[in-house]
Amino acid sequence: MKGFLNKQAPYIFIAPTLILLTLFSIVPILVALVISFSDMDLGGLANFDSISFIGFDNYIEVLKDPVFLKAILNTLFYVVIGVPLVILFSLAIALLINLGTSRIFKVFRVVYYLPSVTNIVAVAVVWSYLYNPALGLFNYLLNSVGLPDVPWLTEPTVAKLSLILLALWKAIGLNMIIFIAALQGVPKSYYEAAELDGANTWQQVTRITIPMLRFAIFFVSVTTMIGWLQFFEEPFVMTQGGPLDGTLSVALFIYQNGFKFNNFGYAAAGSFVLFVSIIVITLVQLRLQKNESDMT
């Protein structure tokens, strides 16, 4: 018995995790696919016999649903504005921190990373207070320099931008750390050679650092893009998708249809539309990256 247990040790080591991952990641994909073709709702939860399969109806309906289309547009808005800003700011901050020679620059790493480890609900609670129209600090600060109030969370477009600002604040830290790690991998001799040739700091950054960081920039843009296509927690806690569905994202649409209206089949169809879009967009990015590296 002992010998048997010892022989099977590797399988016993990986079994618990594999069972859990299968049960909560692999099987759910299949379940989601099946129920996306059914009319499963709260009644179906109690009695499986009441579920009937309705083919592609859910997919056709969700793609015609004006709320879903609005959620797609909102999500694209988040991605198109948010992703470049995340890359730009985290890269700029990483460069500045990396070029710094004093010890104080190590402190900045911690400060900029701090929002990334902070609880999203707490963040939402604090920012809702900062954004508050009457008592919020932001409007007070604007007023005190003579600027008018901003309808932070009450006007659809401004509300989207407000959520992006908050998500930006939370997302920069992690990506900045990735860039700093990549920056430390650039060989010092390159800079020394450039210096001998009389290149200044700006030339060194644009001609050596940025090209050397190409893989890191690509990695950050793919992961950030995937993350922002699933933008969920910020609108969920702060605005519930309002005002007038102005901040509703695709992920939040899926959650609301699933757990608020209990239309499980409909929500599953929506989630597959999101899943396929993420895969397609990522593949396009991979292809673009490949073409680019072929050219150079």
Partner: protein, 286 residues
């Protein structure tokens, strides 16, 4: 002779411009850092203000009168004690998950068994599945197992994670095989090798993962929200979002709840930041 003085002059001027650059980038980063820290300062300071002072216009930056009333209210009139207990239970369970990840990482790193590569690819593939797709089926699965509204149901879906398994595997493949071989010759079982050789060597990555696991468990929000119907199973984050809805105008109270959630993480993170950030640099780019 002429060229050397020119060279000296240039390097002196360069050092001068380098210094200006250092001050400028330091200044820029400081301004950014103030903006980054502002929400934290505002949260902590406001949590000590009495409700009356919160409503004052213009607002006070530093509380005129420090009060602990907001914090007391959380525990006396709301169930923050219960939420805290539940959150700590989840943290405790997630450490069990951490151990499972470590064991699996070890299995993938140090053994050559049939189907290893295929199974490892399967593990990595789970990282790419968006949580929105699995959210509803996982709820249905837990429901059919009778685990909704139970602590087990809250804990199970997030217990193990592909990324942690991957990091453990990366680290543990650097452990010399000879070391394991020698212990094996002494008659130790594979389980003893894991407990007495591998775990002690893996201390650095275990420490970092433990901190990250604590933070993730402490912050867990979505599964408790979906699975728990009873307030007796709520975590701190679910309780805090409840507080935001129920006491919409009581910002002092809200800030106290937020401070209570965030302060332990800030302290823990600041204390261990060097290890976390450096681990990230090593594991992330290799």
């Amino acid at each position: 002779m002429h060229t050397t003085t020119a060279g000296k002059k240039r390097s002196a001027r360069e050092r001068e411009s380098g210094k200006t650059f250092q001050w400028m980038s330091g200044g820029l980063l400081t301004i950014g850092a103030l903006f980054f820290l502002l929400p934290f300062f505002w949260m902590i300071l406001s949590s000590f203000k009495p409700e009356g002072e919160i409503l004052q216009i213009p607002p006070t930056f530093w509380p005129k009168r420090f009060t602990m009333d907001n914090f007391a209210y959380l525990f006396e009139n709301m169930n923050f004690g219960v939420y805290l207990k539940n959150t700590l239970i989840i943290v405790l369970f997630s450490f069990v998950g951490l151990l499972l990840n470590a064991i699996a990482g070890f299995g993938f790193a140090k053994y050559d068994f049939k189907g290893r590569n295929a199974l490892f690819v399967l593990v990595l593939a789970t990282m790419m599945i968006p949580s929105q797709v699995t959210m509803i089926p996982v709820y249905l699965i837990l429901n059919s197992l009778g685990l909704t509204n139970t602590m087990t149901g809250i804990v199970l879906p997030g217990l193990v994670g592909a990324f942690a398994i991957f990091l453990f595997r990366q680290f543990m493949s650097t452990i010399p095989t000879e070391l394991m071989e020698a212990t094996r010759l002494d008659g130790a079982s594979e389980y003893r090798i894991f407990l007495q050789i591998v775990l002690p060597i893996s201390k650095p990555i275990l420490a970092v993962q433990a901190i990250l696991t604590f933070i993730a468990g402490w912050n867990s929000f979505l599964w408790p929200l979906i699975i728990a119907n009873d307030e007796s199973l709520y975590t701190l984050s679910v309780g805090l979002s409840l507080l935001k809805g129920q006491y919409a105008a009581k910002f002092g109270l809200q800030m106290a709840g937020a401070t209570f959630m965030v302060a332990p993480v800030i302290v823990l993170f600041t204390y261990f930041q060097k290890h976390i950030i450096e681990n990230f640099s090593i594991s992330g780019m290799k």
